[in-house]
Symmetry: C2
Subunit: 329 residues, 2 copies
């Protein structure tokens, strides 16, 4: 079977079934990060591979932004488990015509974000390649109980941090060359180029043991909520009018409407579920977390699937289904 037919998630599932799980693995393939035992203690591990032409375009991405973002996506995975990132391994494939100043730019971005979050780059590999490749592996310390995708229950509230769709809308405008000199445009582009891993919010949530399930939104709200639903054997209903949108998004979305907020990728916001009894505690966190936390829906019985409803409760059909690195072929 061609991989384009199998799709990214079919592929991941196939890999998971082929891999035998050995000792010490508390959580293997299929969540934001793996959770593994050491002789004493345990660690979270996550990896991302970014490929020029697939994940980034150097025509409109600076190397410093790219360095920052390459690390941010993995830090976001550690956040999604409620963990604290500590070490990064960074393997690079570098085009032959690169020079050392360009590499310095890339590392300026990486080191800036690493320093901000107390992460040290401890090693990796360097090779020549036809296009720029960045492979990141981050090791982090877990909270006392890492937050998996699989803990949501029917009746749990569904929350997101920050605002949705900004990065995807920024990228869409970049691709359509609809750039304007405006602060709204700059804000969307910044969200695309410099996503913020929600480590502080995640740590606060984990410390209080509030989420029943959590994921970071990298492939779009609907798709990533689908991952929680699948892992937790629940359905979900999202209220479209509750989705947190930035003023910049409202100003520039135009005909795109809610599509980027619902299905656009690369928000790197936290999406989590929590029992209704936790509402007050979570509302309080709104101020502490340094980012807004919005209640956007509720977990339903599994037969419900993932539905989006309008203010009157009528189902809205969502066409684009988020990002799949193989289905796009």
């Amino acid at each position: 079977m061609k991989l384009s037919r199998l799709g990214e998630f079919g592929l991941i599932d196939r890999i998971r079934r082929k891999v035998s799980v050995g000792r010490g693995v508390r959580l293997g393939i299929g969540d934001d990060a793996a959770w593994v035992d050491h002789p004493q203690g345990s660690s979270l591990i996550t990896a991302d591979l970014l490929i020029e032409g697939i994940h980034f375009d150097l025509r409109w991405t600076s190397l410093a932004d790219l360095g920052d973002k390459s690390l941010a996506v993995s830090l976001s995975d550690i956040a999604a488990m409620g963990g604290v990132p500590a070490y990064a391994m960074l393997s690079l494939g570098i085009p032959a015509n690169f020079d050392s100043k360009q590499l310095d730019e890339l590392y300026r971005g990486i080191n800036g974000l690493a320093k901000k979050h107390g992460v040290t780059v401890v090693g990796g590999d360097t090779n020549v390649a036809d296009s720029l490749l960045i492979s990141v592996c981050v090791i982090g310390h877990p909270p006392s109980k890492p937050i998996c995708r699989s803990g949501a229950h029917v009746g749990d509230d569904i929350y997101v941090t920050g605002t949705l769709g900004d990065a995807a809308l920024g990228l869409a405008l970049l691709r359509r060359k609809r750039l304007r000199q405006s602060s709204a445009m700059a804000q969307l582009l910044r969200r695309h180029h410099r996503p913020t891993p929600r480590l502080a919010a995640a740590a606060l949530l984990a410390r209080r043991n509030l989420p029943s399930a959590m994921i970071d939104i990298s492939d779009g709200l609907i798709q990533d909520l689908g991952h929680i639903c699948q892992a937790s054997h629940v359905g979900a209903t999202i209220q479209q009018d509750k989705l947190p949108l930035s003023n910049a998004y409202r100003a520039l979305a135009g005909k795109t409407g809610m599509l980027c907020a619902l299905s656009g990728g690369e928000d790197y916001e936290l999406l989590f579920c929590a029992a209704p009894r936790q509402r007050k505690q979570i509302e309080k966190l709104n101020r502490l977390a340094g980012v807004a936390i919005s209640r956007i829906g509720v977990c339903m019985a599994v037969g419900n699937g993932v539905r989006v409803v309008d203010a009157n409760g009528a189902t809205i059909s969502v066409t684009a289904s988020g990002h799949d690195h193989f289905k796009i072929l």
Copy 2:
């Protein structure tokens, strides 16, 4: 400065100077693996990135062999620290025309070696790419005192496991299309396609705290010995007539002579130094380790550099200096 002028090791040195070292890092960039603290205990971490057309050629490499080797090179790095590998993260860039059977073949190789050494693949990333990319990060448990490159002293003996140059000679014959149906040829090719990470020997050496410094030979004996010498501030003299050669190598080296044994890459044998008082203990290990251990030279004062001498003590000039992923451009 163009990276081809800077060279791989100039580049690694530049990266090391740019990266700020945070808490918990016992050993960062510049050894076979990093050594990092957890709230309890510590881990070894290593990463390798294999790129089609640079590190492997699918015209003469089966996907099962490639899967095995992709993991083996990182396991060899953990061996070089005296550690026990435990977990692997595996990120793949997969060409669009790949099918799921090909992927199964790749995983057959990966899983076979993983199972043999009690390693679990706990996660990674999958993406479409123009050519096959394999990024591996392995996390392992350190011995009570990991063996670094930096501990060798003047007067220490120098040892290698196994035989040298087989993989490089096998690859050279493949490239020159000088293939013959012979068991010697098959043996060299097997050494190229399926290197053996010397985990058992490394664990025995580490448990007895015998080596003062250790590295795995991935870039060729002379170059990797140079890494030990540089990190330990010593020189080294190697006796060419003491280099362990396989019968297959002797049968097929021809005009290549000792070049592959001295400078060929991808042996993935252990190269280590030990004080002369340890000789008897190391000789005893020869039987336990499941692989021959040969004494090939001695550490000298740093001004000596890395020299190769013949049986009469006359210096032999070695032209090729091993593998550099950027200098080859």
